[in-house]
Amino acid sequence: MTTASSRPAATHAVNNEKDRWLRAYRQMVRIRLFEEQVNELYTRALMPGLAHLYSGEEAVAVGVCEALNIDDYITSTHRGHGHCLAKGASPDRMFAELLGKEAGYCRGKGGSMHIADPATGNLGANAIVGGSVGIATGAAFAAKRLANGRVAVCFFGEGALGQGSLYEVMNLAQLWKLPVIYVCENNLYNEYTHFSETTAGTILGRAAAFGLESAVVDGQDVRGVYEVATRLVKRARSGQGPAFLQADTYRYSGHHVGDINREYYRTKQEEQLWRIERDPIKLHAAWLLAQGHGDSAELEQVAAAARTEMEAAVKFAIASPYPSADQVEQDVYA
């Protein structure tokens, strides 16, 4: 096992509590503003394909990824922009990928649902629900076999609880004591269907069946997510095996940007309630102010800087060239 001191630096250097929580705030704001730009690009018909926004769920990606090192692995989902940014990807290359440009993380070949970035351990977003559970578990298997001290985090939505392969790999991960953490983002809706209509029993009961260490956390509380994730990551890294984290959260937008009329599956009041009372960024901002970790001017500065960053990133992506048609057959085989 590689020692802590010889491991690559953490994703970021945090000197104290104040820095840590201000950084978490900044990361959540960046994700929110990234997604606002995506919404804008999509509705202006500048972005091809589909856009699944992460707004409302920021505390989950940030809380978990802040507990990871840059060389730890994640797998992500079709709703993956938040995971990608939280793990350290740069918004300019992300926007370029979303627009199908050559400067994108996948040279335009993956798009929104397939962003991958080896430099930050991102094994890729996946457009098959539950499609990456094997990959994350395999990355944990390799980490254990190579004794490189890494862990793997598998992000998936509660919709993936319907996929049998999840249970196959959870069983295997527990038998082989693999350093993988299954993070179930329960945003309540499998596309357009409330999860209670698709999910018998309890979510944690599934983890319990395999004897996995498990926890449930308020997914709107970035500090709570971070604390639990830190414990589970430490546990996995020290060879104590896999874990399952249920993070209860909410997706502000529709399943994708075009999912406008949603009253048949959820009410506007419900959406308003989450946005007003349960917003992870507002909640964390209030806590920061109450703790004296910053004043409102400072927080506004954070948001302004993030806004400038995202606007510049969008400009970069729009100005970037498309791949030339002769690249279509490149990289089918390594």
Binding site: G108, P118, I128, G134, I135, A139, F141, Y333, A334
Partner: protein
């Protein structure tokens, strides 16, 4: 070393596969094996016997009966530094791995713009006539040959099995390696040294003048048997073994078709939309004006493989049915 060195030793097909695995595991500590009953049991076919004893339980791992799950683990492990050889006991169980192979393994490199690689091998079986009925007898390699990003290998001799498997393990891409389970006891010359056979290079297993048999895997031995029968009747048959359906050595196949002007393509999968259909199309596109007869396709009958022996036996081409078809094609029946 040259592909046709003078080997002095004979091994069975199963021993050749095992030797390839053992050599690659000695050569590269990243190579590991997992699947159902691969360790102490050495698989039901005993192909892997002795490997766990040499390489230990950390590199030869028994899995739960979870093909989708452990194939996915293979994909992730391959992306992050290992070179897994995943064992799917019967080719029929490939149905359970399809999302992992088709949507994940085959696409990870392309979708990531070339960033991630999936150097894994999925070893499995094909072939009927073992009285195993419809769910343990299929030859499903055409499905994988259809998917960009995968390579598909079909060895037909112990020599090819060893050389091709070593190449497959060293390849940077996902490779599906099909072994005919009826062939595990087939003996043939296999050099003890390290040698590899490139993927995408066909092998002319028999030189002939009057007709070409393009045959894969289990059908190579059938084609060779038919060729021997025909020789006594004055018909000289050439047998071309593509060895891999992707990459495909179109050049060697087309050259042989042009030379003999008559072709039968033989593959144990289903003919409809299958490997024989693709091979026939390649020949039609590349050798049309040199052909003296339509390309004839022979493969498994379009039925689920039946259990009852007299029924099962008629579902696959035999030396008799192939030689009869050849006579007709050469106007000598």
């Amino acid at each position: 070393m040259p592909e046709r060195a003078m080997p002095e030793r004979e091994l069975t097909f199963a021993q050749a596969v095992r030797e390839a695995l053992a050599e690659e595991m000695r050569r590269d500590s990243r190579v590991c094996i997992f699947g159902e009953d691969v360790a102490e049991a050495g698989t039901p076919f005993k192909v892997l016997s002795g490997l766990v004893e040499e390489f230990g339980a950390e590199r030869v791992l028994d899995t739960p009966i979870s093909e989708a799950g452990f194939t996915g683990v293979g994909v992730g492990a391959a992306m992050t530094g290992l070179r897994p050889v995943v064992d799917i006991m019967f080719g029929d169980f490939l149905t359970l791995t399809m999302d992992q192979m088709v949507n994940q393994a085959a696409k990870a490199h392309y979708m990531s713009g070339g960033h991630w690689k999936v150097p894994m091998v999925l070893r499995t079986t094909l072939g009927a006539t073992r009285r195993s009925a419809a769910q343990h007898s299929q030859s499903l390699h055409a499905w994988f040959s259809h998917v960009p990003g995968l390579k598909v290998v079909l060895p037909s001799t112990p020599y090819d099995a060893k050389g091709l498997l070593k190449t497959a393990i060293r390849d940077e891409n996902p490779v599906v390696f099909f072994e005919d389970k009826m062939m595990y006891k087939l003996k043939g010359p296999v050099p003890a040294e390290d040698y590899t056979i490139p993927l995408g290079v066909a092998d002319v297993k028999r030189v002939g003048e009057d007709i070409t048999f393009v045959a894969t895997s289990s059908m190579v031995q059938v084609a060779l048997g038919a060729a021997n029968m025909l020789e006594k009747e004055g018909i000289s048959a050439e047998v071309v073994d593509p060895r891999t359906t992707w990459p495909l050595d179109e050049k060697t196949i087309i050259e042989s078709a042009k030379k003999t002007s008559r072709v039968i393509v033989l593959d144990e999968g289903y003919g409809r939309y299958g490997v024989t259909a693709e091979l026939a199309a390649v020949i039609a596109e590349g050798a049309f004006y040199d052909l003296d007869a339509p390309v004839k396709r022979m493969g498994a009958m379009h039925v689920p493989i039946p259990f009852s022996p007299p029924l099962e036996d008629v579902t696959v081409p035999t030396e008799e049915t192939v030689s009869e078809a050849a006579r007709r094609l050469c106007n000598k029946s």
